[in-house]
Symmetry: C2
C-alpha cells in the first residue's frame, strides 16, 4: 500500500525538537512492504493540517498523523480533522471514565494539569475508533473514503508502541490488500563497510515483491533487514529460511546479533554462558569500552571494572606496565597493549581482559603510527595476544569504532572459549 | 519571512536515514526570526518533487530544498525543477572545469566514480547561481517569481556549511525584508529542568519581534537561545546586552557555557587555566565520566586517567578503599565515594579528582538507597567532600546525568580553585 506520514507541531517546524516519529514509522512501514511517497511536517495550524490531510487522501492508501492530540490549547489536530473531513467531534464517555480513573491513581501534586481540561481528550471526530482502549494514550483510527487514517501521539515512545501494536497489524489485515504473512529479521553487522555488505548480499535482492532487503548504516555498524512477504504463513517461512541462510552464509560472523541485541548485550550473554569475568584496560578510548559494557543491566555479574590509563605514569603505577616496555616500544604498541591487558587481568582477577591503546587524534600521530592506529591486547587464562587496526575519521569516530572493535575481539574469543 | 523546507530522497522516505538537515535548517531559520510553516520529505520522484515545489511557492516567501543534487541516476532534483519551473538545464563550463581540477587532485583508485558521469553536475536550471563557486559542493540558488529557492546537498555537513555561509546571509540581506542585524547566543544550562529555566526567564519573552528566546532540551541539559533582531547594529547590540545580562542574572552559574562549548570542553579549559591535573574514579557510570573528558582533543594535557571500580574487590585493590568502609557504609555511600576520590588521587598523582558511586538500576535499589541514588566524592589538595543526588529515569539516563553532574562538580570547584 502507498502511505503518507504527517507530523504536527510547532516544536518540529521551529527545529526545537528533532522529528523521530516519522522516521520510525517510515522504517517499519517500508520493511512491511509499504511505500511512503511523502512525509510532511506541519506547524500547529488547523488550515495547514487540513491541507496536508486532503492532499494525502488524494494520493495515498493510508495516512499516519502524529502529534497534536494532547489536552492543551496548541493541540489542534482533532479540531482540524473534524473540520476538514466534516466529521464533528462527538463525546466518548468511556474515555472520560478512563481519564478520571487515571487521575485518581496518578495524582499530579504540583499543578501540572492545573488549568488544562483533560476532558478535551474525550471528544473525537465522528467515526473515530480508539486504538488501545486499555492504554492511557491518545490515538485513534478513522476510516475516510475507505482509507484508514491513524492518529497517534507525538511522544516517540507512545507513538512507537501504538504503531507496532495497533497500526502495523491493522494494515496487515487490511481488506483489498493481498494477504501477506510478514516474517522479519534485522541483522547487526560489524567489521564490514556498507559497500562490502551490499556486495555480498546484493545477488539476493530482486524485483520480486516477496522478499525485501534494507541497508541501514548505524555507525560504526551496518544493519540489514530481511522481510519475507508470502501469501501464507508457510510460504513466508520457507522464503525467510532460504534467504536467512543465504545472508548468514554471505556475512558469517560479521553478523554479531539480531534485532535489539547490541554488541555489549552479546558480550554479556557470552560471558554469563561461559562463566567468565571480564575487565578492561584502555587508553585512547578513555573509558568508552568499560562504559559500553555497563550500559547492559546486570553487567556487574560479569564485569569487574577497568582502568583508564591515559598517562604513562598510570600505565605503570596502576597496570604495572614496565617502564622499559614504554621506553622501548612506546605507549602505542603491541607490547604495551599486551602488558596493559596482562596488568588489568592481574589486578582485577578477571578471566579475560582486553586493552586498547592508540592515537585517536587529531594530534599525536606520526609517520609510523598515524592517527587511527590502535593496538588491542587480549589476555586469556592461556595466553596473551595482540591485534592492530587502522581506523579513519574524526576523534569521536575513532574512539567509537575502536571501542566496538575491542568488544568484538572479546565476543569472538568468548565464542571459542572452552 | 515565511519559509518551507523540502528534503528529497528515497533513503529518507524508506526510513533508512534519519532526516537531520530539515531540523538543522528549521532551528537556524527560526532563531533568525523566520517562520517555517511546513517541511516536506519526498522520495526520488520528479512528479512529487514538482508538486511539493509548486505548493511551497504558493504559500512561502522562500524555499530550501535539500538532497538529490548528486551525479547518480536517482539524483533527480535538478531535472524535476527544470521541468516544473520551465527552466531548461544549461551548461556551466566553470563547474566542469572545477570537477576536472578536483578529480585530478583527488584520484579515486577503486572505481567509485566508474560509470557515473560527473559532468551531470555542470548542468543547472536556467538562471541558477552557484552558492559557493570555490567549494567542491553542489548547491545553487534560483530566484523564481521573486522568491529565492535554495538547493543544497543532502549530506548533512555540506548542507550545514552552505546554510550557514550562504543561505542565512542572503536571507538577511533579502530586499523587501525589514533590514535586521542579528545578534545571537546559545546558553548551555545544566542542573535545572526545562520548566524551571522557563519559569526564570519567561518574563523576558514577549510578543515583540525584536527579541526571541528559544528553549531546546538536550538531555541532560537545557539550551536557551537569545536572538536580537534590531534594525541597526547598534540597536541589536543594545538589545542583546540587556537581555544577555538579564538571562545571566536569572540563571547564574547554571549556565556553564555558550555556543559549542560542552561541559567537558569547559572543564578542560579550567584545568589548563588553573594548571591542575585531573583523574576520575567511577562505579555506576562505568567509565562514562572519563570517556566524556577524553572526547576533547588534547585532554591528555590535563587528564591522567581513571579507574572503573565496578566490583568491590577492585575498589579495594585498585583504589585502596578500606574493607571496613565498604562493610560498614556500603559501596553506595558518602564514605566510599570519598575513599574512591582519595584513592584515585593517590595512585594517579592528580590535583583534583572526582568519584561517583550509585545505583543506575534497573535492579540494585533498596528502600534506603533507591535506583537513582548517586554519591559523588571530590578530593582537592586541601580536603575531601561529598555530594548526594537522586536522579530518575532509565539506566542510560541515570548514567548520563550522573556523569554530567560529576563534571559539573569539577567545573564549579575548578572555578574557585586558587
Amino acid at each position: 500500500m502507498i502511505g503518507e506520514i504527517i507530523a504536527i507541531g510547532d516544536e518540529l517546524t521551529s527545529g526545537r525538537i528533532l522529528n523521530l516519529t516519522s522516521n520510525f514509522a517510515a522504517y517499519h512501514l517500508f520493511a512491511m512492504g509499504h511505500e511512503i511517497v511523502a512525509m510532511a511536517t506541519i506547524g500547529d495550524s488547523p488550515e495547514f493540517i487540513g491541507q496536508a490531510l486532503k492532499k494525502a487522501l488524494a494520493r495515498a492508501d493510508f495516512i499516519i498523523v502524529t502529534g497534536g492530540l494532547g489536552p492543551t490549547t496548541d493541540d489542534l489536530t482533532t479540531a482540524a480533522v473534524a473540520k476538514v473531513l466534516e466529521r464533528p467531534v462527538t463525546f466518548h464517555p468511556e474515555i472520560q471514565a478512563q481519564i478520571k480513573h487515571y487521575l485518581a491513581s496518578h495524582p499530579k501534586p504540583d499543578g501540572i494539569t492545573a488549568g488544562i481540561d483533560l476532558n478535551k481528550l474525550a471528544w473525537l471526530p465522528r467515526g473515530a475508533e480508539v486504538l488501545k482502549p486499555a492504554g492511557n494514550m491518545a490515538g485513534y483510527v478513522l476510516i475516510h473514503t475507505e482509507k484508514p487514517i491513524f492518529f497517534l501521539p507525538g511522544v516517540p515512545q507512545e507513538m512507537q508502541e501504538l504503531l507496532k501494536d495497533c497500526v502495523l497489524p491493522r494494515l496487515r489485515r487490511w481488506p483489498g490488500r493481498a494477504h501477506r504473512q510478514v516474517k522479519q529479521r534485522l541483522y547487526r553487522i560489524f567489521g564490514l563497510p556498507e559497500t562490502e555488505v551490499n556486495q555480498r548480499v546484493r545477488h539476493l535482492e530482486g524485483d520480486n515483491s516477496l522478499v525485501r532487503l534494507g541497508y541501514y548504516p548505524v555507525f560504526p555498524e551496518v544493519h540489514l533487514s530481511l522481510t519475507a512477504l508470502g501469501a501464507t504463513d508457510e510460504e513466508s517461512s520457507s522464503l525467510f529460511q532460504i534467504f536467512d541462510r543465504r545472508i548468514k552464509e554471505a556475512l558469517g560472523d560479521y553478523i554479531y546479533g539480531f534485532g535489539d541485541e547490541t554488541m555489549a548485550v552479546k558480550v554479556g550473554e557470552l560471558a554469563i554462558q561461559k562463566k567468565v569475568k571480564l575487565a578492561i584496560a584502555e587508553s585512547c578510548t578513555g573509558g568508552l569500552i568499560s562504559h559500553t559494557i555497563t550500559t547492559v543491566p546486570g553487567s556487574s555479574n560479569y564485569f569487574l571494572g577497568g582502568i583508564v590509563s591515559y598517562s604513562n605514569q598510570l600505565k605503570m603505577d596502576a597496570l604495572g606496565v614496565e617502564p622499559e616496555t614504554l621506553a622501548r616500544y612506546g605507549a602505542v604498541s603491541a607490547e604495551t597493549a599486551m602488558a596493559m591487558a596482562h596488568g588489568i587481568k592481574k589486578i582485577s582477577g578477571a578471566d579475560i581482559t582486553v586493552a586498547a591503546t592508540g592515537v585517536a587524534g587529531p594530534a599525536g600521530g606520526s609517520g609510523e603510527k598515524p592517527v587511527g592506529t590502535v593496538y588491542f591486547g587480549l589476555a586469556t587464562p592461556d595466553n596473551c595476544r595482540h591485534y592492530l587496526h587502522h581506523f579513519s575519521g574524526s576523534r569521536t569516530m575513532i574512539q567509537a569504532i575502536a571501542s566496538q572493535t575491542a568488544l568484538d575481539i572479546l565476543r569472538k574469543n568468548l565464542m571459542e572459549f572452552q
